[in-house]
């Protein structure tokens, strides 16, 4: 730089730079070169170390902070996992509970359907046939027999002729004398011989009809004949449409159940 041969050209910055780029081996130049080489080496090494690993180049405080972060994050995620598992268990329980509730409601609907006559029913019971050659059996007699059967625990009752129409007997069933020895049951005209088909305990039912002064006695006094046969399985298929209540609505229950 201060050497005489470059002095004249080195009046501007560019001139000095060009002059400096001329290779000259002086001690100062060599030392500067060594330092520059050291800088390049260190820079390259540092860049490579930074790229190689994120953590090994960090100081202790940073590492502690990162460790804290990771620990905290782990705890947070574990808490979240616990919450989610709890929620999942709850949902599973709820599902099982509602399934049980649906099953229970379905069972109750079946029971009510049998009682209301909207569902066919089957079970042990009796067939009670009333032959009435003289048309002496009136609706009163049939109604007495029905009361007797109900008292004896009849759960589903069907009244009909031997091979004619059959009517499901429910709480609101009306039996009316229709003249000419016929009986009208809920609007269906029935003529003798009548037949009750009843589901209930067969022994109790037949015993209830057979008591002295009971239904069978009254029938024989009227020159009619009652025949009770106990059956292992009586199937009642006649149905009764469920009336839709026009005014009554279910009252809200107190409490949950």
């Amino acid at each position: 730089m201060s050497s005489p041969e470059t002095g004249r050209a080195a009046t501007t910055g560019r001139g000095r730079l060009v002059a400096a780029l001329r290779p000259r081996a002086s001690r100062g130049q060599l030392v500067a070169a060594v330092l520059c080489a050291l800088l390049g080496f260190a820079a390259a090494v540092q860049v490579r170390a930074t790229q190689d690993s994120d953590l090994s180049g960090l100081r202790q405080t940073d590492l502690v902070r990162i460790l804290d972060d990771v620990t905290e994050r782990t705890a947070r995620l574990q808490a979240e996992a616990r919450d989610l598992e709890e929620a999942r268990r709850q949902v599973t329980n709820d599902t099982n509970g509602s399934r049980a509730a649906v099953e229970e409601a379905r069972g109750r609907a079946r029971t009510l359907g049998i009682l209301a006559g909207t569902l066919p029913a089957t079970g042990p019971g009796i067939e009670f046939t009333i032959s009435d050659p003289d048309d002496e059996v009136t609706a009163d007699v049939l109604l007495d027999a029905l009361h007797e059967l109900r008292d004896a625990g009849a759960e589903a009752v069907e009244l009909g002729t031997l091979d004619g129409p059959r009517v499901r007997v429910v709480a609101s069933t009306a039996l009316v004398d229709a003249g000419d020895g016929a009986v009208e049951v809920d609007g269906t005209r029935l003529t003798a011989p009548y037949q009750y088909r009843v589901i209930g305990d067969p022994g109790t039912l037949s015993a209830a009809l057979d008591i002295p002064g009971g239904v069978l006695d009254v029938l024989s006094q009227n020159d009619a004949q009652g025949l009770v046969t106990e059956q292992d399985e009586v199937t009642i298929t006649s149905l009764r449409p469920a009336p839709e209540p026009e005014y009554a609505r279910p009252a809200p229950e107190d409490g949950d159940d």
Partner: protein
């Protein structure tokens, strides 16, 4: 010219030798590199100013590196190593920028 060759040579050696940085040097190396960069830009500026001196360059280079490393070391001992490192880098960065601005004025006259 020789200095530029030395720089290139050093970079190439660092890239191809792939040495591992010793553990005790790891916190100081990046700061030392930045300090040396500052010295390098200062030297380049003085060269363009026409006042470059080999001895001054060598001394400023070594002193820059040592002082930067010392400050970081001190900061580590005091528990504020990260903050002091940031401070040193900021100061050196400002100096590098001002030197680069001077160099730019010399080269492009703008």
């Amino acid at each position: 010219m020789i200095a530029a060759l030395g720089l290139v040579l050093g970079i190439v050696a660092g890239l191809f030798l792939e040495p591992t940085v010793p553990l005790w040097l790891q916190p100081y190396l990046p700061i030392a590199v930045v300090a040396a960069l500052d010295a390098l830009f200062g030297g380049l500026r003085s060269l363009l100013d026409g006042i470059f001196d080999d001895k001054v360059f060598v001394v400023s280079f070594v002193a820059n590196v040592l002082v930067a490393a010392l400050i970081v070391f001190l900061g580590d001992q005091l528990g504020v190593g990260a903050q002091l490192s940031t401070g040193v880098v900021v100061v050196l960065g400002i100096r590098i920028f001002s030197n680069a601005a001077a160099i730019r004025r010399h080269l492009f006259r703008a």
